[in-house]
């Protein structure tokens, strides 16, 4: 189902959705920089009318995974003094959440996270609780950033279909496309009307433009076994890697975490926090470390995304969002590494 909303009505429509949903989306910070955050949390006055949503693809820095997997999350608290029920698991809030401003690659990243956290014998209850009530609204990228390579790892136009609703900027207004019943319920609003054929043509053109982002040369190599174990490129690229982990902390589909205990205000709290395979501590055991060298950790990162996850879940773990490419402080561009790596014999 498609509807059209004028630029003037957009803010009013979003505000109306906020009554039902806790709304998270890309907003412009006071300094002009975009940020992905809880729209309700913005102090009044900073954002005119409470919402200035940045629906261009500039608001890409913080991955939406923050709202499915908070950087730090309490698993339970343990109170030694409470004899009857010392263990308490925090409950998730009950107002349903709406994520706004997701790009095609963000939608794909959530699909990857779904596999990791929901597949298998044990589903992750904390992730599942957040995911269950979450409404996902995205938008079609107007321009690819220099670092983007979504079309080289899949079909972004198909990924958009994982969203409940998709917003396409057609200049004079936005076409909003509902993919699910929840999405249709969002469109049931007096601020929206039926689009004309011409407006629909503009929408299709925008989707076609997304699909037409040129592919990288490595795109054709992405078979499950294309990464060679002993390739010298691991060493070559790892040499400049600082092991800072930015590439996984800010990757929208990286999902690894650590679990720690801490005493807070007389209680013991067990929490999980983000972790990365790019540090030597990740696999360090008292007896030995299976990945003591940077090149092994670099191989793990790329192999996990381009080889192991395809084997495990039949999905490439990288969405081509370009965050790691753009944010790596030494410009270690995985697209160059992928282009150079030789197939596994």
């Amino acid at each position: 189902m498609d509807k059209i909303v004028t630029k003037d009505n957009m803010a009013a429509w979003l505000r109306s959705l906020r009554e039902k949903y806790e709304m998270i989306g890309p907003v412009k910070r006071p300094d002009g920089a975009p940020e992905f955050r809880d729209i309700d949390m913005m102090p009044p006055g900073i954002i005119p009318g409470g919402i200035e949503v940045a629906l261009d693809n500039a608001a890409w820095l913080m991955p939406p995974k923050d709202y499915l997997l908070p950087p730090t999350e309490t698993l339970f608290t343990y109170d030694e003094k409470d004899q009857a029920e010392p263990l308490k698991v925090p409950l998730a809030g009950d107002k349903p959440r709406l994520l706004l401003g997701l790009r095609a690659c963000d939608a794909r990243a959530i699909r990857v996270l779904d596999h990791v956290y929901l597949d298998g014998a044990f589903a992750d209850p904390y992730y599942a609780a957040r995911r269950k009530g979450m409404v996902m609204v995205g938008n079609v990228c107007d321009e690819a950033r220099w670092s983007c390579f979504c079309t080289s790892v899949g079909e972004p136009v198909e990924w958009l279909k994982d969203l409940d609703a998709v917003i396409t900027d057609i200049g004079a207004g936005f076409v909003v496309t509902a993919n699910t019943p929840v999405g249709e319920s969002l469109l049931d609003s007096s601020y929206l009307s039926d689009p004309s054929d011409q407006q629909m043509n503009l929408k299709v053109a925008a989707w076609d433009k997304l699909a037409a982002i040129p592919k990288r040369p490595f795109a054709d190599k992405l078979a499950k076994d294309f990464l060679a174990w002993d390739d010298p490129i691991w060493e070559k690229y790892a040499r400049k890697c600082l092991g800072c982990g930015i590439c996984s902390y800010l990757c929208p589909s990286c999902s690894c975490f650590d679990i720690q205990d801490e005493r807070v205000a007389g209680q013991i709290e067990r929490f999980r926090c983000r972790d990365t395979c790019q540090t030597c501590y990740f696999t360090l055991m008292p007896s030995h470390n299976p990945r003591p060298e940077k090149k092994m950790r670099m191989r793990q990162r790329l192999s996990h995304k381009f080889k192991y996850q395809p084997e495990q879940f039949d999905i490439i773990g990288c969405t081509g969002c370009g965050r790691c490419v753009e944010l790596c402080p030494v410009n270690l561009d995985i697209r160059q590494a992928l282009a150079e790596v030789t197939p596994n014999e």
Binding site: F282, Q300, E311
Partner: protein, 287 residues
């Protein structure tokens, strides 16, 4: 895995991160750095319902310190409590060693796969253990001895650097006295009063020269011991499919989520820790 899921699995499935509370009932000092803990669940129903299979592991919490991974060293054929043996190597294992009887711990599990003992019915079993590596073997061994008629001859080769580093000494007689079961002990160096073999486990294995026919070999111990045991088993004619071991990787969640324990696309916490040597040969060499 079509059979009805036991209650523990149901509970763990709701929230695999939430431990079951248990009380330490008994602590046995095995060696200078290893203790065996017997824990009883606080929930009385859970005491009977907690079931697991030999080879599986659990995450043990000391609240305020953290968690660590230990294999279940007891056998499900003796319900009511669980046992695990702990070698003191770091923060959590230190904290456990500090504990006294009556202390409270958390248990998450059972996790991971198990030895395919159902498929081994009617076969001879050869256990080859070194040091603390005897823990997972002990679970399977006691399980098989409790189901003695299901298996043929059972041989156990167990070694340590010295006699005071052998665990489970109080059980040696019970193992020896089981029907058609032999215990072969060995230590690295000569000791006064030692009446058993002297020499490394792999060498003793060669001396004993067990026949591979209809036999499954299960080995666990220090990596260097396993390496030579595997070589010698091959020389003795054992195929890769006849040899089983357990692998160790750093673990946190135990349920395939935290991303820490992968070897290639397999996660040791879910797809392991039990692997046949044939499977191990197919893995990337990173463990």
């Amino acid at each position: 895995m079509s059979s009805a899921q036991p209650a523990t699995i149901e509970q763990m499935k709701q929230n695999p991160y939430k431990p079951l509370l248990a009380t330490i009932e008994e602590i046995v000092e095995e060696t200078w750095d290893t203790k065996t803990f017997r824990a009883v669940f606080q929930d009385e129903e859970m005491r009977e319902k907690f079931t697991y299979k030999p080879g599986q592991f659990q995450e043990v919490s000391v609240f305020g310190v953290g968690e660590a991974t230990f294999c279940l060293a007891s056998t499900p054929t003796r319900p009511g409590s669980i046992e695990f043996s702990v070698r003191k190597v770091g923060s959590l294992t230190d904290a456990l060693h500090e504990m006294s009887e009556g202390a409270v711990v958390g248990i998450r599990g059972p996790f991971g796969n198990w030895f395919p003992y159902q498929e081994w019915k009617g076969k001879d079993l050869l256990f080859i253990g070194g040091g603390i590596g005897m823990a997972p073997l002990r679970s399977l061994l006691n399980f098989c001895l409790d189901n003695r008629d299901d298996y043929g001859r059972v041989d156990v080769i167990y070694g340590a650097r010295s006699s005071d580093l052998l665990c489970y000494k109080t059980e040696f007689d019970a193992w020896r006295n089981s029907k058609n079961t032999n215990l072969f002990l060995t230590i690295d160096k000569e000791e006064e009063g030692w009446q058993h073999n002297v020499g490394f486990v792999p060498a003793y294995l060669n001396d004993l020269a067990p026949k591979p026919d209809n036999t499954i070999a299960i080995t666990c111990g220090p990596p260097i011991m396993i390496k030579f045991v595997l070589q010698n088993l091959a020389t003795l004619g054992f195929t890769d499919e006849q040899i089983y071991t357990t692998l160790e990787m750093k673990m946190k969640c135990g349920v395939g989520k935290c991303g820490r324990c992968n070897i290639g696309h397999l996660f040791v916490c879910v797809d392991g820790p039990v692997f046949s040597y044939a499977q191990i040969r197919g893995l990337p060499p990173e463990f």
